[in-house]
Subunit: 787 residues, 2 copies
Amino acid sequence: MMEYGQGTGEFENWIVSETAFSSGHLGKCEAIMSLGNGYMGMRSATEEPYIKEQRNWFVNGTFNKAQPNEVAELPNLADITQIGIHIDGERFSLEYGETENYVRQLNLKTAELSRSFDWISPRGKKIRFHFKRFVSLAERHLTAARVEIESLSHPVEISFSSGINAQMTNSGIQHFLEGERRVIDKKMIQLVQTTNESNVDVVINTTHNIKLNGEEPAADPEMDMARRKVWLSCEFTLQPSDRLEIEKITSVHTSRDLEAMEAEYDLQQLRESSLGDLKLHALHGYAPLFEAHRQAWKQKVWDACKLEIDSANAFDQLAVRFALYHLTVMAPVHDARMGIGAKGLSGEGYKGHSFWDTEVFILPFFIYSNPEAAKSLLVYRYLGLAGARAKAAANGYSGAMYPWEMAWPADGEVTPVWGDIDIVTGKQSRIWSGAIEQHISADIAFAVYQYHEVTKDQQFLDQYGYEIVFDTAVFWASRLEWNGKKGCYEITGVIGPDEYKEHVANNAFTNYMAYFNLKLAVRYCEKLMKENRELFEKLAGPLELAAAYPDWVEKAEKLFLPKPRNEDQVIPQDDTYLQLEEIDLAKYKNQGKVRTIYRDYNSEQINLFQVTKQADALILLYLLEQTFLHEDPRISTAVKRASFRYYEPKTLHDSSLSLVTHAILASDIGETDLAYSLFRKSAEIDLGPLMNTSDEGIHAASIGGIWKAAVFGFAGVRLIDGRLRIDPKLPKHWRSMAFTIQWQGQPVGITVTPTRLSVNLQSEEALEFETNNAVYECTGFIEVPLN
Amino acid sequence: MMEYGQGTGEFENWIVSETAFSSGHLGKCEAIMSLGNGYMGMRSATEEPYIKEQRNWFVNGTFNKAQPNEVAELPNLADITQIGIHIDGERFSLEYGETENYVRQLNLKTAELSRSFDWISPRGKKIRFHFKRFVSLAERHLTAARVEIESLSHPVEISFSSGINAQMTNSGIQHFLEGERRVIDKKMIQLVQTTNESNVDVVINTTHNIKLNGEEPAADPEMDMARRKVWLSCEFTLQPSDRLEIEKITSVHTSRDLEAMEAEYDLQQLRESSLGDLKLHALHGYAPLFEAHRQAWKQKVWDACKLEIDSANAFDQLAVRFALYHLTVMAPVHDARMGIGAKGLSGEGYKGHSFWDTEVFILPFFIYSNPEAAKSLLVYRYLGLAGARAKAAANGYSGAMYPWEMAWPADGEVTPVWGDIDIVTGKQSRIWSGAIEQHISADIAFAVYQYHEVTKDQQFLDQYGYEIVFDTAVFWASRLEWNGKKGCYEITGVIGPDEYKEHVANNAFTNYMAYFNLKLAVRYCEKLMKENRELFEKLAGPLELAAAYPDWVEKAEKLFLPKPRNEDQVIPQDDTYLQLEEIDLAKYKNQGKVRTIYRDYNSEQINLFQVTKQADALILLYLLEQTFLHEDPRISTAVKRASFRYYEPKTLHDSSLSLVTHAILASDIGETDLAYSLFRKSAEIDLGPLMNTSDEGIHAASIGGIWKAAVFGFAGVRLIDGRLRIDPKLPKHWRSMAFTIQWQGQPVGITVTPTRLSVNLQSEEALEFETNNAVYECTGFIEVPLN
């Protein structure tokens, strides 16, 4: 059972708590309390094992394709989190005996996981347990755990075993060769393994500090090995009030680490140096390592990108902190060769692959909060150009056709081909996204545009951005299909954001985004010719800009862009959607479970109904408003409202990406109560009380969306053709909202109350922004009264 | 907790029972109650899952080497045994609630596993469970399970899920490519997978018959897939006295099946035909399939090879039936391309590999009870000649040097190189057996000799046996080392049966067995020249017999054979053993755990002590007595007694192969009480009350040894230079012993009481045998009074 109000004092609205343990609902806290630092992510499985646990530990970027018919995925590392505890010879488990004062907490401020309880064994002995764990933000190769066990009532025999277990798999897939294991000084353990296809070496070192009442025990632990396992074990008799303390400090290094790229890589040397480093760290023990970690969170995260909400519902403040926590934990800001997985590093779901989720749902937070990190994520896409070009070529197109799912940049397209069961045929369903969900290329171009407009980072554009935008435009130009009868270009046979409609023609989102991509390339090309002739010449050759530029102009001009219907202002999602059969969706909508429609229909059948998985036309109305659509009077609030009212009832929100877009749109059309309710639902996808929503990992896009809904929705921050608009519409529960964004190189402090908007600039450079159709110029500090 | 006396009436001394369940001791019953038919073996894990379970299902011969640095092993198939049961939304487990009338039984007579109990859920609802399962001996591709659930007290919500789970690994090693899964008719499931290296296709079909109070439920089950999993699930409300019955009939076929060799193999056709076959079987349901299976056990096993013991300890009768049960279950008598693994098919231990265990400990039962099966096991070794020749060549020798561990015949040597932890270095220990435990080649030659002497199967000798014996002799001739100083041939740098002595010189067992092998080749060569010139000519060329024969004669003549010491008649185990330091072994001997000496010393240190893992010199004194040693007056009972008394106190019995040899030797030297006590200990290794001895699987050699200790030990049956000796020494607890052996083509019924030996021949051919130095000739029936 989840609780949200346990934090007090300096930790008020910083603590996520589980106050009752259920071995039937492990996935929830494993995922939402998962730890990480962008380099590694660790699911928060309990020390003692349970049947339904999912014990995951990933290092970002270590992708491996274990078998020829699989796709590359992040391999689940050997486990160091399980600690076997036996009490009086019986395996300790919260499934037996009685548990009192149970609480498991993730402290978002300190990024520490803790769990404590008193346990009365089946024999009636009372024992106090206290577990702590963190993944260091100060030293990215490091993680530490601490166990305290105290006998409260009787003498008890306690034995524990702890080591490294390399029998772990990704749901049955083994990524690692057996490797080598050894015990050093009867205390430290080293495991060296290599992935079987990508040849990534992984070196794990772990060490144990054991103290009984503050003293190191006299006897050495026993050492054991079994297949792919190595562990130490100890036995103690605890008298009442005796206290056993075990600290386990662990490091992981890989041959994919940035350090391995920078220095001459040598496995033997890495083995020795990593072991030496760990010995030093272990000298200090848990407490000082934790203190350095806590300081890093303060400086790098909480001081740098605060978002304070004073709400009648304290949950709202917790939710945005939860979002900032996970956005930090999931993002490999240290290494541009790595992206953000759809589940972050919190589970095996989606195999660590990056989707459009990054650019459309997660990147905005980094663009406005941590531009360096945003740049790193976009360089990741730049490094993916070779794979995108290969995909285009393989599909008979030119330019860069980005993978729907991307892993290691060189891997190219890694979308699996087979998915869940087809209810009709009894076979696995075909997943078409890798082949025909093509808007991703334009989404990435849009992200380049957005990053550049917000940061004015010309160097990025020169070095990476132009090439991405030009080559995706080349792709679209080759992709468009000429329809002689209609006298326009079309895009047929695609999937839009609504994946319940496969093989559709002229999906509005796809067509408009392709149009945007082409127009952006035209604009960038003209800019480049004007501003940097040298770079233009350099790019013009390989990208054949001389031929491409007029092609873009002509094709953008003649690309079919579906307009709102005259009768009701609804944007048609695609050529056929509005003519499809409508069915009663009550059985599938808002029932607490997603994708239940597949219990009754297969994809081919669902394709024939007016049923939508997630925001499709609606995301277009939000996303491109910031660029050109606001120029078109028909794309007005009326169009947004009409489309919202048409599509929302047909939308099952069967993707976690859906609610946040609806929340922003509801805010835009003035339905602030609805917007708030959608924001809450969106924030509750992972953090809320439902115990089965996060089993495969947190929903990274939805978590990015919490920040988006707050800042873009309620605070009304938008980028409109290079200008900043701040047009707040606070929900009635919110008394104030204060946050900082980075705008073109300077931090901008924004505070919103129901009646006032305050903008605070630290520098003296002027900032022009608009709200409620009035334009304000600000140097220093300005307050705007809101009506 | 194990019980042995629960069988009554026709099942008296046929039932092995567990009468209290402990989730901390699962391995015991999983292994000793494992099911099989030689084609497949299935560990008896419970339907509901537990943390420490080991869920294994193997098809013999499907060896695969999953990774380049591993050795080939039997892959653990996708699981069909787990059935998830939820009661009122909570996972059913015997770890919660209360359990009454619990009993799990293996009925040895019917080879059926059953488990029944009443379970009171944590909410106080009483539910009766009854599970049954068998692996068909009548139809080797088939296994069936049945679940009955009855609500006794309240209405309960029951849901169950059942399917095929291909996430299974061998302790983390995945052998199978993902393959294809599908559901047929919302009822049957088919999984097709292929091993990743050996390219063995495995087709598993399963089907569910579900009945509520005898009626098929109206609603279809739900179908689901996850990674490498596919399953059906159903929900029911059971009113008090409602009864839910689930039958799950499953088949497995592989491209390594004999049928696939005989017909043109086509995977698509196998998929269809196997599915069709299963549909037919499923029509009948559990009961008639079980009846056919029960009949097969009666006819093929219990009527064919009975061994009746009337003992004051009923356990003794149960133990020999347990042995006959497992000998049947483990032996792939249908296919000569397959051998018997050291753990049968009951666990991952030893990876399904065949050792000398087969020839020395298991084969004797088949030679005397089922010569066809014995022949199949020896043909397996014949098929291994290519691998044995390759091993000899790789080691710089000639002829056939058999693998210490053998898997698929063509695989050659598959002994792993690295084992348990080295207590001193903290690294994995080097396993030397694959390189230098060389007696296996002579053990196989001895088995050919024994088989031929007992069966007089000349065709076998012509087709397979001569070649094995000649080519192993060629190996030994190339292996012997000339010691100019001593003027003899030696064998240095080997491991004998006592694996606690590595790199020793002139291990008595190895030297004598090599000598036997050379002499047997000489004898067979002379026999062949005399009796079958044509075959001789055929073999002479490839095996270079013209040169080999005189070489064998000369080298056998000059091979150093360690003689008993003059002062005490003790056979030196090797050149140095008797001079090594003696240490106090009390801490390691008879403490209920094996290999504990490794807690204090590593192999190099143990090598320097007079400590023995298992019978070494003693097995020589028993094994070769039957051939030539009895001609040497020094190898007499006195030598046996002296060596027994010297070595036994230094022997830790850290291999399950040890006790049975000691039991036979104790019997030979007249210490019948000691012999009986050792027999009991040997029989208890798997069957006894200790709950942790069989975790990695049953001890196949020890189980073969139960039969050996009874027939060769207490009944005193021996093959002495082609003649049968029957010289019984019944333990005082035994009132009579009756069994049948096959002797040179005819069944011989033997009954022993403390005072009489009765021999009963069904044919009228004469049988000459000796007992207590008197020779008897028997046609029909004879009784001999014993002193």
